[in-house]
């Protein structure tokens, strides 16, 4: 489903990703952990073309998105992204945040888009907030709307960049619950998070990134219970 082949990403002289490769199977949930600045966000951003890789190739459903002729807007329709800071459209209601992509990009009718949006709002438990603006919603509610907004495009894979780290602790659970449901429904997901409970419960694989490389990977129980690399041990001892 996703095939990342030896990608390198530089910002000027700063090398942020070095020779990273990864294969993700359909319906797999891959959790990415690692210290701040290790390149986790940059890695996800390369996967939907928000950043251009310096070297290497990325294939999504056999389409090479790193090819210069690939239409990135087309790719991004199929790759949903959820941001740490939600990035809901501030001038639109929750409902409009969800319908604008289907209407303007997928060219669905307003009626179809709204039906889909209401169903998604129900799924994330926010049907009664359809007409609220982002600044009238709590962080947890905003993030759930953001997830619904991404799902409205019917993506084949969802990327989550620390979706709960900007939230007050009491709101983390409601967002993780939505993500767990998604995982159980068979969505292919790449999730940058330090929520170990989530990683253990729904993660098929955990990657530990440091200094722009995947240092170690394994099943959650193996990587958390019995890390092999010194750097992984050190990092886990700090966050657990």
């Amino acid at each position: 489903m996703i095939s990342v082949r030896n990608i390198t990403k530089k910002f000027g002289h700063l090398t942020v990703l070095t020779d990273v490769s990864l294969e993700v199977a359909p319906q797999e949930v891959v959790v990415i952990i690692g210290p701040s600045g290790s390149g986790k966000s940059t890695f996800l951003r390369c996967l939907n073309g928000l950043e251009k890789v310096t070297k290497g190739e990325i294939f999504i459903n056999n389409v090479e998105i790193t090819h210069s002729k690939t239409n990135l807007s087309k790719v991004r329709k199929e790759v949903g992204m959820v941001f740490q800071r939600f990035n809901l459209f501030q001038h639109l209601t929750a409902l409009q945040n969800i319908t604008i992509g289907p209407v303007e990009v997928l060219k669905l009718s307003k009626k179809e888009a709204e039906d889909r949006a209401y169903a998604l709002l129900e799924k994330v438990g926010l049907k009664d907030k359809a007409h609220s603006y982002p600044d009238q919603l709590s962080g947890g509610q905003q993030q759930r709307v953001a997830i619904a907004r991404a799902l409205a495009m019917n993506p084949i894979v969802m990327l989550f960049d620390e979706p709960t780290s900007a939230l007050d602790p009491e709101m983390v659970g409601e967002v993780l619950a939505v993500m767990k449901d998604l995982a159980k429904e068979g969505m292919t997901m790449l999730v940058v998070t330090h929520e170990m409970g989530f990683a253990r419960e729904v993660g098929d694989r955990v990657l530990f990134m440091d200094e722009g490389r995947i240092v170690e990977e394994g099943k959650p129980s193996e990587l958390f219970g019995n890390p092999k690399e010194e750097r992984t041990k050190l990092f886990l001892s700090k966050i657990l």
Partner: protein, 226 residues
């Protein structure tokens, strides 16, 4: 002011009202193209292509750098030496020259207002728009501009007020707007005090009405549209 004051002002009023009409017409005729020009050059200045950015920069530097009166004279008096404007447009060249000069000048300021408005929107909004498959044009039209526009209303209103005041410079090429009408009336009546007082009050009435409308608009936008 003596007892003749009111009589003089009454006598001058039809001319001054004609002047106000032209002031308003020229202002509106300039504000609309100036806003379009401003939007185009703002987008050029924000382009990822260096040469487009350069075009935008040169435009702003040139027309912010030139006194408006010089631009008016240049277009009305100098350009016809290279292009047969009077043959093409006849008497309406006065109007055309006035609108082009005002548009170029106000457009340069509006370019900066729109550019600043667009830049004030968090980059996360653009990224979120891209992430649901929007292209640059769609992200600008549906996500960035609607939010930026709200923030641009106060500075744009200032610029529109500036434009109304700037139309008084058109008196120098004999456009019969308010200032020019005042001058003409004074040249035969010598009632400078009365007429300039009346002219000043009429400018204030026009500008304060615009301010009132804009305050109302701004409030409505803040409430329904966010």
């Amino acid at each position: 002011m003596d007892s003749g004051t009111l009589g003089i002002i009454f006598d001058a009023m039809p001319m001054l009202i004609e002047g106000v009409k032209l002031t308003v017409i020229y202002s509106i005729a300039a504000i609309i193209p100036a806003t379009i020009v401003g939007l185009i050059f703002a987008l050029l200045k924000l382009s990822s292509l260096g040469f487009l950015r350069r075009i935008g920069e040169v435009y702003v530097h040139v027309f912010r750098g030139l006194p408006l009166l010089v631009v008016i004279f240049y277009i009305y008096f100098a350009v016809p030496h290279v292009l047969p404007m009077h043959a093409w447009f006849g008497d309406s060249y006065r109007f055309i020259a006035a609108i082009i000069a005002l548009t170029l000048n106000e457009g340069a300021y509006i370019t900066e207002i729109i550019r600043a408005g667009i830049l004030s929107i968090d980059h996360g909004q653009t990224e979120a728009a891209y992430s649901i498959g929007m292209n640059k044009f769609q992200a600008m039209r549906f996500i960035i501009l609607p939010q930026a526009f709200k923030r641009m209303i106060p500075p744009l209103m200032n610029q529109f007020i500036q434009t109304i005041k700037d139309t008084s410079l058109l008196s120098a090429i004999s456009v019969a707007e308010l200032t020019r009408q005042g001058q003409i009336y004074i040249s035969t009546s010598f009632a400078a005090l009365q007429i300039w007082t009346a002219v000043a009050i009429m400018y204030l009435i026009v500008i304060l009405s615009l301010t009132a409308i804009s305050t109302k608009l701004e409030r409505r936008w803040q409430i329904d549209k966010r």
